[in-house]
Symmetry: C2
Subunit: 353 residues, 2 copies
């Protein structure tokens, strides 16, 4: 069976068409079985493709005039969606013309359009936004939800755990990913009632779900590298993610200031450049680019608005791996295995109807 195509919203992102196309071309070198749908201004896409004959040969262009801007509110984006590059890329997934869409545009708009167009998978009440975060261990960590759902109940959290574990099997290769709930302490009595409920359900269902579940983790332990999936509601997840990003930038800034504080420091910096380059590489958000909406009928990947071509390539590569490994199908299978468990999915079918 051939692989589904990847739709690229060529107009999203702050850096414009050229970076999106170059990113897709870079990713295609690593995943050369993929075909692409490039959605946006045909003229500008063709121009950008001139430097990338391989991508041109494996792509189809869908022309659109409209673009969702960074200022568009989700409600406005939904109304304008049809004629825009973002809207058409997601439409292509719905129509089966592509298996996944990648966009560097407005997150709120992408979330709203994706949810309305693709709808949630059977067995999932709400999609979640999942991203990879660096750790001191061998694998990146998967954290979800990062902001798709401000408030969640315990059932949502359990579903996020199932989706995150399916993703982790792709990223880490572990058959039983190590899953934890984000909390403010590791004792069973800590946190909110809904966290304790979710913990009890996951303990019960862990074996059936092929996950290694061991309760709670804290935000300062995430990077240790001994956990594969951290599950949280979208509010806490967004705060944790931004606190991590902000602190990494803060420390990098302090480092820059420190190194330029004297001639001696500047010389030391030049000599130790390989070391600081290594650090820079590790902390560069481009190397962890590509947050995924899981739980929809189709995959939507958000690339950072300011991503470089290398960053876009990482987001496209994430997408390619999710398709190659059939993560959506795997999540369905996991859900089906525990599908009639009244513990974690009470009344889900009714509510969605």
């Amino acid at each position: 069976m051939s692989l589904p195509r990847i739709a690229i919203d060529a107009m999203g992102g702050d850096e414009g068409v050229r970076v999106m196309i170059e990113g897709a071309a870079l990713a295609r070198r690593r995943h050369d079985q993929f075909q692409f749908l490039l959605v946006g201004d045909e003229e500008r896409i063709k121009n950008a493709l001139q430097d990338h004959p391989n991508l041109r040969a494996s792509s189809e262009i869908i022309h659109t005039d409209g673009v969702i801007s960074g200022e568009d509110k989700p409600s406005q984006a939904l109304r304008r969606s049809k004629g825009t590059s973002m809207g058409r890329a997601i439409e292509a997934v719905k129509a089966g013309d592509a298996g996944a869409a990648v966009s560097g545009g407005n997150t709120g708009a992408l979330m709203a359009i994706s949810k309305l167009t693709l709808r949630t998978m059977p067995g999932i009440d709400r999609p979640a936004l999942a991203a990879l975060m660096p750790t001191l261990g061998d694998n990146d960590l998967i954290m979800l939800d990062l902001g798709a759902n401000t408030e969640c109940d315990s059932r949502n959290l359990v579903q996020f755990a199932i989706m995150g574990a399916a993703y982790a099997r792709v990223v880490s290769g572990r058959a039983e990913p190590r899953v934890r709930l984000l909390n403010i302490g590791t004792e069973e009595i800590k946190g909110t009632e809904l966290l304790r409920d979710a913990s009890a359900i996951l303990r019960e269902a862990a074996k059936e779900l092929s996950i290694s579940f061991d309760g709670f983790t804290e935000a300062d332990k995430m990077a240790h590298g001994n956990v594969d999936v951290v599950v949280t509601d979208g509010f806490s997840g967004n705060i944790a993610l931004k606190a991590v990003e902000g602190t990494a930038r803060f420390v990098a800034d302090l480092l820059r200031r420190s190194f330029s504080s004297s001639l001696r420091s500047k010389i030391g910096f030049l000599i130790s450049r390989p070391a600081t380059e290594l650090l820079k590489h590790h902390l560069d958000p481009n190397n962890h680019n590509g947050a995924v909406f899981l739980g929809l009928n189709g995959i939507v990947v958000k690339s950072h608005g300011g991503a470089s071509a290398a960053g876009v390539a990482n987001a496209v590569a994430v997408t390619a791996r999710l398709l190659e490994e059939r993560v959506t199908e795997r999540i369905s299978a996991d859900l089906a295995r525990v599908g009639d468990s009244s513990l974690w999915m009470p009344g889900a079918q009714e509510e969605r109807a």
Copy 2:
């Protein structure tokens, strides 16, 4: 009027009596008007005081046999409190023998004993834990609540803002501290209903409260240095704080690994040592030690369990400044000024009764 004494729980903290006493002695050099109550094993305190004649001359010792351990649950701690160094230190504040207590012991126990013994101030429904965090600006940032209240309503958040602002006037010297609510976006529609409510109330009351309130901030903007107080519930605050701490340690660890990755890097590191020492100083948690429980009838300061003597000295210095500046009285005055506002304190008097 003379300054109230500071009670030191000499037995709390992982590093033992010697570090607590040395920390108090260091702080006393900067705040030499203060008298101390040293609570714990008399023999060991006397031994530790031999190196610190100045502190010895300005201290009284209260002997206790018991110690609250790191493993004690809050409920156990409450039962055992009476004969312990932590319990007696807080008792001393209640009895008026001291104006504040400093402990490096178990946070949950300290919170429970402090709340039960000292009770909340008139006009405050719940105390909050506030800490200083480094920024790229001139002042440290005050963030609260950091874990005293897992779930909060909008009235709690408004009260935290009032308490945080009073503390910020001491730290930054600003008459109208810049106060923000922590949220997952800055648009007015973002986040939970209770955040939007709290925002509306604070906008209304800002002038009366002498604060500069401008809605929401995000966790990646906190360190920019353009905000003095970030207000949040204890769950999100604890997650943000730990994410910041964990990331700072993660980056420091990466830096260490990078610099030791080659001989060249090691040489560069040695040359640029003044720069990395500067960074280390900035990131050392000892330099931001001392989280304060605000909103109680008396001040309780939590020193980090693993703090060095310099760290303990910072926590004691924070305590001294809060007493010198009469922060508790100032919070009372701020509350009285807006005391009958039904907006932010509906039914508070009744509920506490």
